[in-house]
Amino acid sequence: MRMVVDLNRCQGYAQCVPLAPEVLHLHGEEALMYDPNPDDSLRQHVLRAAASCPVQAIVVDRLDEIGKSS
């Protein structure tokens, strides 16, 4: 799956991290690092992390709804 974190919006409070620790972690005090291409099996974790973000900085693809094509 594909994701980006809009790091302009991200406040670095890390609420999201425990919900998808395989994908998100803090680098230093407040710089969020993420895997831009997590395994599909982690989709539920990532979606929960995205939902937990108070500023909606986590953008997850909708490929499962729209299919692979363009």
Partner: protein
């Protein structure tokens, strides 16, 4: 003409018009998605000279170089189907406005009713082509670049030389140290990041680099690269007479705007990009606004109300993400519904474990004041001022306060601003921000005010390679 007539034209355009987007990256993709979101059902063609579908660049200098993500694993998330005719791997080579066609490298002509220019920038190559061709010499802009550079770093080179200490150069130096590699950073200016943030912050950034074991050389330029018999780079000669043994050299010298394909089209395009109004509509060479050609992202240059209406270029993610959406909206909207794209410039950069974030246009300022936190702890906020008003702010590991400063900048509030929070440093005296004087040998920041002239006759830029 009756109002409904125009409305009919727009409705018909939304149903049957032909839209072409040139540049298949962040701005182009978000524009395409917005066009469909807003009910555009006509044929949509997306032309991109890279083979990959749109991908995200910021992770390239961070996660990818560090080895946390593969170079081909940063494809942008898709928000919806765009039902486009994707022409990937083929460049646009010309624009004929008379017949409204984009010419492609393979000779094809693609007709359009409305066009979005989103061709962004590319990295400025090493100035000497023979030296640039040496194995081990890199630039970083594309996923392919990142893949090659990652492989070179993973091979454990003896010493890495990074030429240019802007944001990307500094991020790369940080990754090299995290990988345990010896790294030298050579910068012509007095410190890292000074083009974007000035000398006061540059001093702090320099300390950060040295504390992390970077061999930082400021006030010098790299004059020549030398290869071995196999054509692999091995030595660099610096302007201060010293030489360095190096196995990898990364030229991080800023960018060049991809406007060449527009030559002869009669648009206000040039080395600073393509001039447009606040609604992303492109100006022609006489400063007359076009109604069928729009521009967004790194290549767009628009007057900004907060900065004396000077044309502003912004090579930032945010500007491409939002700019693409606004341009698309305006392409399919009636005049009263059109929106401006006047974002406060905003950026982030992760380096040496510190999260650096900023808003506004630093180089517009002449003064700076540390308003919160502690510089020695590298956890602070600073505000920039000009003529008694706040025009920019930067935070080091203090990002949560940035919004506060952004709101002040949007109101042109007085400088120095009243600091929020409780962690006020002693003194808080404004001091000169120490931005390089125009023409000084320094890298260009990625947000630049480029004057008032849409055709840029007033904007001067000479890249200085060697002599100071």
């Amino acid at each position: 003409m009756r109002a409904e007539l125009i409305a009919d034209v727009v409705a018909e355009f939304k149903a049957y018009g032909r839209i072409v987007i040139v540049g298949a990256s962040l701005a182009g993709l978000r524009a395409a998605e917005t066009l469909r979101d807003e009910g555009f059902t006509g044929p949509l063609t997306i032309i991109g000279d890279e083979k990959q579908e749109p991908y995200d660049r910021p992770p390239l200098s961070k996660q990818v170089l560090k080895g946390l993500a593969r170079a081909d694993h940063t494809l942008l998330p898709r928000m919806r189907k765009v039902d486009a005719d994707w022409r990937l791997g083929v460049a646009a080579t010309g624009l004929d406005r008379r017949v409204k066609q984009v010419r492609l490298a393979d000779g094809e002509q693609v007709p359009f009713d409305r066009l979005l220019i989103a061709t962004g920038t590319r990295s400025r190559p090493w100035f000497n082509p023979q030296e640039a061709a040496l194995e081990g010499v890199f630039t970083l802009r594309t996923a392919d670049d990142a893949g090659r550079l990652r492989a070179a770093l993973a091979a454990g080179p003896g010493r890495v030389l990074i030429v240019g200490a802007g944001f990307i150069g500094s991020e790369m130096a940080s990754v090299c140290r995290e990988l345990g590699l010896a790294v030298t950073v050579a910068e012509r200016a007095e410190g890292p990041l000074v083009g974007a943030l000035g000398g006061v912050i540059g001093d702090i950034a320099a300390e950060m680099q040295r504390d992390h074991g970077v061999d930082l050389r400021t006030g010098v330029s790299v004059e020549a690269l030398e290869g071995d018999a196999q054509g692999h780079v091995r030595r660099a000669r610096l302007s201060d007479g010293t030489t360095l043994d190096v196995d990898v050299v990364v030229a991080s010298l800023g960018s060049i705007r991809n406007t060449e394909w527009l030559e002869g089209a009669g648009l206000a395009s040039g080395r600073w990009g393509v001039a447009c109004d606040a609604g992303c509509r492109v100006f022609d060479i006489n400063g007359v606004v076009t109604d069928s050609i729009f521009v967004a992202g790194d290549i767009a240059r628009a007057p900004h109300v907060l900065y004396d209406y000077q044309f502003l270029v912004q090579e930032h993610w945010d500007n491409a993400d939002v700019g693409g959406r606004v341009a698309a909206h305006n392409m399919v909207s009636l005049e009263p519904q059109r929106r401006p794209h006047l974002p406060l410039p905003a950026f982030w950069s992760g380096q040496f474990g510190v999260n650096i974030k900023g808003v506004g246009v630093g180089p517009f300022a002449d003064e700076i004041v540390i308003t919160q936190g502690s510089v020695t702890d590298r956890r602070f906020a600073a505000a920039y001022g000009r003529n008694g008003r706040i025009v920019a702010a930067v935070t080091f590991n203090h990002g949560k306060w940035l919004e506060y400063y952004g709101a002040l900048i949007e109101r042109s509030a007085p400088f120095p601003p009243p600091p929020p929070g409780y962690d006020h440093p002693d003194g808080m005296q404004p001091m000169p921000a120490r931005f390089p004087t125009p023409g000084a040998p320094t890298g260009w920041p990625d947000v630049v005010l480029t004057g008032h002239d849409p055709t840029e006759r007033g904007a001067e830029y000479e890249y200085r390679t060697k002599k100071r």
